[in-house]
């Protein structure tokens, strides 16, 4: 049974189509990447897959259930999103922010249990922020705030993870470390991850499959091995890119 799939999905931003009759099936253990130029609808596609905005037509299925028939809470128990922008209106602490990830797993009157707090602490140590757990959230740097958001997602522990530019604000060490962590979780725990990325080298390294958003509703889906060739990339980015091999990984260089 696939974790997340779409059939004949049509998405528009205003009158501009993002994808036309997109069919994809994300199986357990797979990491997917969404590539495309600025404004071609990567985030829009991700939000639509999460049920945060309506599609024009077509279906999105979470474990064979139509997303339109699931409550937000039911969706949140299975699907988590790392958003691109973080909003902090009132000064909660880092730990208070991370524990919100348990919300979909709790009832109205329920307080977080010992094990919920453990989840949060564990997630904080995964992103190496345990020492800042009591710090007000609005005093963090951009990279630290991004890691708090990742920790919140880990605390939520969904089977389907949608990551919108997970690398933004992160330094090189955390980019590799956190992508390693999330992709390893995906593979060993039978989850599925879909992320938007701008870095082709990381895409080649982490993504099993890709969706290329070429603009005007034209899309390509397939394995990254098939899709990441020079002609596709030239078409995708409207700029010549050459591919070379190094240490068994493909490396992409702009010309």
């Amino acid at each position: 049974m696939s974790l997340l799939s779409t059939s004949n999905l049509n998405i528009h931003i205003g009158n501009t189509p993002v994808c036309h009759n997109l069919n994809m099936t994300c199986e357990a253990g797979e990491v997917w990447g969404i590539l495309g130029r600025n404004g071609k609808g990567k985030t829009t596609l991700l939000h639509t897959l999460a049920g945060l905005r309506p599609a024009v037509s077509g279906e999105i299925l979470i474990r064979e259930n139509n997303i339109l028939e699931l409550s937000r809470k039911k969706i949140a128990q299975q699907l988590g999103v790392l958003l691109q922008h973080h909003e902090d209106s009132f000064p909660a602490t880092v730990l208070e922010t991370v524990i919100t990830g348990r919300h979909p797993h709790l009832n109205h009157w329920q307080w977080e249990s010992q094990s919920d707090w453990q989840c949060a602490h564990q997630a904080l140590s995964t992103v190496q922020l345990s020492h800042l757990s009591k710090r007000p959230i609005n005093q963090l740097s951009g990279g630290e705030r991004q890691r708090v958001a990742i920790a919140t997602l880990i605390t939520q522990n969904p089977d389907i993870m949608l990551l919108d530019e997970p690398n933004s604000h992160l330094d090189l060490k955390y980019q590799i470390q956190l992508l390693n962590q999330l992709c390893q979780q995906t593979r060993t725990q039978g989850k599925t991850t879909i992320m938007t990325l701008h870095d082709l080298n990381l895409t080649a390294r982490y993504c099993d499959k890709l969706i290329l958003l070429l603009g005007d509703g034209e899309t390509m889906t397939g394995t990254s091995k098939e899709l990441l060739n020079e002609s596709n990339l030239q078409k995708l980015y409207d700029h010549p890119i050459s591919r070379i091999e190094s240490d068994g990984y493909p490396v992409f260089i702009t010309k």
């Binding site: 945060l52 958003l83 973080h86 909003e87 919300h103 109205h108 010992q114 007000p136």
Partner: protein, 356 residues
């Protein structure tokens, strides 16, 4: 409140004291207990001071049903109803302010800024200038508040886009409109009704009477509002991180938004109807608690109710005694106490942040 405390006591008695979740609760719990103690002290203070000073012994005797007739009258006809209305009004306004601030994710949001009290004021002033009885003034104020709510909500909702800044702006502009109407009514009103109107505009609790003690509407709405806020408290914590993030974490935004707006409006309308236009409590009390205690709405909601009640009760007690026999409008004293206290806490909060 009660359910909350009972639950807490159960949780605490089940957990060992070394349990980290117990330690997390220790500070807010202490502050909550202190606030309860402060509320009781405020009530005793309010009952004891005035033109006929009463000792605490006399108060206890009167409350038990003993004591002289005059003590009985002073407490049950004058001071207790007034203290009771003041405390509940403070609680209602603080809770409404807290809800509005999360709803709009704006620290400046407050029922008054959204024009609810403006509508109520116009309603009551029309009733006063028509020479209606005080019960009808309340009804008229409530209708005014409702009209204002519907106006702001309807206009801000417009064609679907319903974002916080648009709602806030609509509220501010509608409030300005009410302000103009208030000035218009004031300038054309005959002198004899002017003083009553001005007092109402500045907040006035002096009309509180014994029959208000048996009127269930205020406590019922306050307690229902508090329970509802506690039920939504975790959702409110998440809503502070934006509607998108709240959606992602399993909250249905539209019903939450609507219920927050209606609840905050009902709380404000109830408060304004009984006590006139007392600004400021709803704005500063939730922030004070955030700075002192926690941004977790499960603590913030009950603490705001208690602190708001105390602030208004103490302000009103001072307002009626400080230059007795003359009475001051309560809103003046709220501002005198609240402004410096708030500025001090804000300043202290910032300094702590810089140090950490």
């Amino acid at each position: 409140m009660l359910i909350k405390l009972i639950k807490l006591i159960i949780t605490l008695s089940l957990n060992k004291p070394t349990d980290p979740s117990f330690l997390k609760m220790l500070k807010p719990l202490t502050i909550l207990v202190l606030l309860i103690a402060l509320s009781i002290a405020s009530f005793l203070f309010a009952l004891s001071v005035g033109s006929l000073p009463l000792s605490y012994m006399e108060i206890f005797e009167a409350l038990k049903g003993d004591g002289s007739d005059i003590t009985q009258t002073v407490i049950f006809e004058l001071r207790l109803p007034r203290a009771y209305i003041a405390f509940l009004t403070g609680g209602l306004l603080s809770l409404a302010g807290m809800l509005m601030q999360v709803l709009l994710r704006n620290p400046l949001a407050d029922p008054y800024i959204l024009g609810v009290s403006g509508g109520a004021s116009v309603g009551s002033m029309l009733a006063i200038s028509a020479g209606l009885a005080s019960s009808l003034i309340s009804v008229s104020a409530f209708i005014g508040a409702l009209i204002s709510i519907l106006l702001v909500f309807g206009l801000a909702h417009g064609r679907g886009s319903w974002n916080p800044s648009r709602l806030l702006l609509t509220g501010v502009v509608v409030a300005a409109g009410w302000g103009a109407i208030i000035n218009f009514i004031l300038s054309v009103s005959p002198n004899q009704s002017l003083k009553g109107m001005l007092f109402w505009l500045m907040g006035d609790l002096s009309y509180a009477q014994a029959h208000h003690l048996s009127d269930p509407s205020m406590p019922v709405i306050l307690i229902a509002g508090l329970l509802f806020s506690l039920m939504l408290a975790r959702s409110l914590n998440i809503l502070s991180h934006g509607e998108m993030q709240a959606s992602v974490l399993g909250i249905s935004i539209k019903p939450l938004r609507l219920s927050l707006f209606l609840l905050a409006s009902a709380l404000t309308a109830t408060a304004v109807t009984k006590a006139g236009s007392i600004g400021f409590v709803g704005l500063i009390v939730p922030h004070m608690i955030r700075l002192l205690m926690s941004s977790d709405h499960r603590w913030l909601a009950p603490a705001s109710v208690l602190a708001g009640g105390c602030l208004l009760l103490l302000s009103d007690t001072i307002a009626r005694t400080i230059i007795a026999p003359q009475q001051l409008p309560t809103g003046v004293i709220t501002a005198f106490i609240g402004v410096p206290l708030f500025l001090y806490l804000l300043n202290r909060g910032y300094r702590q942040q810089e140090l950490s």
